[in-house]
């Protein structure tokens, strides 16, 4: 499960450093003049940074700066007069310039520091930091399984280093059995090359897995759980590598694209329940193999988008005695969001179908693992279709409800170890407490055809964006 949108926490950086003080008259004078020059330049710099300095603050600073300028001019006059007097008077009667001007400049330095401290407060700095994410608590009860309470917390950290550079990361924490599971869902650095292209490097969400990339955060996902297929060894959730992505306007439409190179997945060969499946959380590139893939999406008009994604990689296993082979994943997706004045509400249709092929290899060739030798055509597929309706224009009470129906399925080859073929129909009702906090209830009808018992389920969840 994953979340993004939320808030909070600003850090102010890029403070202007304090001007150094000096013990000698000329040094202090130069420091004062330099400080004034710095202060004079400050409003311009602030504007460049789109700093939210109010007019009142600006006027106050200008007023203080003018006063300081006058004070410097007075000091110059005083200095000139002092020099003149020293030159005219006998040496014994000369004033001590160090004592007189030192006090004056100490006072001036104090005022400059005071003004600078004010400007530091209103100076927002270049680096901006926001914490977003989501949190949820779920109660679930499935047939043949004890009911359970669960909780997740998934903060997202966003650092905007400048207008082009962004660092983002999500850490998901969830409870499982007696442990707290902590996952680094993604951590990447993106740089905007131009208006239409962004370079992204690190651990990023897989762009062809459109559900994970857009709809998985619990406050966005309209049902308490996630559809089949997107996690079942058919599509990666994330990749470690580099990607280029962006969009190009084409008339009223937009072509969205993403292409990447990353570590290749690992072929599972030593697990009697999962042999032949791809392990996408492969953070070490085996045999130097890499995965290449991407997605093209056409947003025909706002709210209507269709996409196609692929990933190709040679894969191998580091155990199990199997060799290398190829893997090819494909996916089509559809997203439609329309308001219907006639039906007094908004409809959302989401769908994705993915299919994969892994080349032939013989698993457990020596029979050492107890399930081989075995060989099978390794094709897998799965997908979902979800329709939701929110009656936004019926009444203040009803417009908080949303009704959802989802069908999903996933399968693995019937002759493969750990074969499965599952279909579900889920009916759900949401009640939106706010635009980013939702109560969900759903009933799931489950059908499994590989001999496993069906697991119908009832789920309740509260989820919020942070």
């Amino acid at each position: 499960m994953r979340g993004w949108q939320s808030r909070r926490g600003m850090r102010h950086g890029h403070h202007v450093g304090a001007a150094p003080g000096g013990g000698r008259f000329s040094g202090k004078f130069r420091a004062a003049v330099a400080g004034l020059a710095l202060l004079t330049a400050l409003p311009v710099g602030a504007a460049d940074q789109q700093a939210p300095v109010t007019r009142a603050e600006y006027d106050a600073l200008m007023k203080q700066m003018m006063a300081l300028q006058k004070e410097v001019a007075d000091l110059k006059s005083q200095q000139a007069a002092t020099a003149k007097a020293v030159a005219a008077a006998p040496a014994s009667a000369a004033p001590s310039p160090g004592k007189v001007t030192g006090k004056t400049f100490d006072s001036l330095q104090g005022q400059i520091d005071e003004v600078k401290s004010i400007t530091d407060i209103v100076n927002p700095g270049d680096t901006k930091f926001v914490i977003a994410g989501s949190a949820s608590s779920t109660f679930s009860t499935y047939s043949n399984t004890p009911s359970n309470f669960g909780a997740t917390f998934a903060p997202i950290f966003l650092w905007q280093l400048n207008d082009k550079l962004l660092v983002e990361s999500e850490i998901e924490m969830e409870l499982e059995d007696t442990s707290t599971i902590v996952n680094l869902e993604y951590a990447d650095i993106s740089y905007e090359l131009n208006d239409y292209m962004t370079l992204d490097a690190g651990k990023f969400l897989n762009p062809m897995n459109i559900f994970v990339e857009r709809y998985e955060p619990n406050w966005i996902n309209k049902l308490p759980d996630t559809p089949l297929a997107i996690y079942d060894g058919i599509l990666p959730e994330s990749n470690v590598g580099v990607q280029l992505r962006g969009a190009v306007p084409i008339g009223p439409s937009r072509l969205k694209y993403a292409g990447y190179a990353s570590n290749a997945p690992r072929l599972i060969a030593d697990d009697s329940e999962a042999a032949g499946q791809l392990q996408f959380d492969n953070f070490t590139s085996l045999s130097d193999y890499k995965a290449y893939g991407g997605r093209l999406g056409l947003e025909v008009i706002p709210g209507v988008e269709a996409g196609y994604g692929v990933q190709y990689a040679n894969v191998t296993a580091n155990t199990g005695g199997v060799g290398s082979t190829s893997s090819f994943l494909q996916s089509v997706d559809l997203e439609v969001k329309r308001d219907s004045p006639a039906l007094k509400g908004a409809f959302t249709l989401l769908g994705q179908y993915a299919w994969s092929n892994v080349g032939d290899v013989t698993y457990d060739p020596n029979g050492d693992l107890g399930f081989g030798p075995t060989n099978f055509t390794n094709n897998r597929s799965g997908g979902y279709l979800q329709l939701s309706y929110r009656p936004k224009r019926l009444s203040d009470f009803l417009n908080r409800f949303e009704f959802i129906v989802r069908g999903d399925m996933a399968n693995a080859p019937s002759s493969a170890p750990g074969a499965f073929d599952e279909r579900r129909l889920t009916l759900g009702v949401d009640y939106w407490l706010t635009s980013f906090t939702v109560l969900k209830a759903a009933y799931e009808l489950d059908e499994r055809t590989n001999g496993e018992p069906n697991q119908n389920g009832f789920l309740l969840q509260i989820a919020t964006g942070l």
Binding site: K128, V130, Q160, T198, K256, A258, P302, E335, S435
Partner: protein, 95 residues
């Protein structure tokens, strides 16, 4: 063959990256209130609500909106001019 593909890919990337000149021009007019004749408020509603409910404008400060829109530009494949128009709209709206 692989080498030719690599050269082709690098060339395509360089060509698209060259469009930065246009991006530079656009960034100087970052406060442009419209993108391709679309009202920025409408653009905000269309792009954000495609995936999720819209957050209230006051949910974030002006600076925070800048970061959020930057994040969403990458995630939702917005163009730079669209992102700037949405950010400018949100930052100029009543907090």
């Amino acid at each position: 063959m692989t080498k030719k593909l690599l050269i082709l890919a690098v060339g395509a990337v360089a060509l698209m990256a060259g469009l930065d000149l246009r991006a530079g021009d656009a960034s100087t007019s970052a406060q442009s209130s419209e993108v391709a004749g679309i009202d920025p408020a409408k653009l905000w509603a269309q792009t954000c609500s495609q995936c999720h409910n819209m957050r209230p404008v006051k949910a974030y400060s002006k600076d925070e909106w800048g970061v959020i829109v930057h994040h969403m530009r990458v995630r939702a494949n917005l163009t730079g001019s669209e992102a700037r128009a949405i950010a400018a709209f949100l930052q100029s709206a009543e907090q």
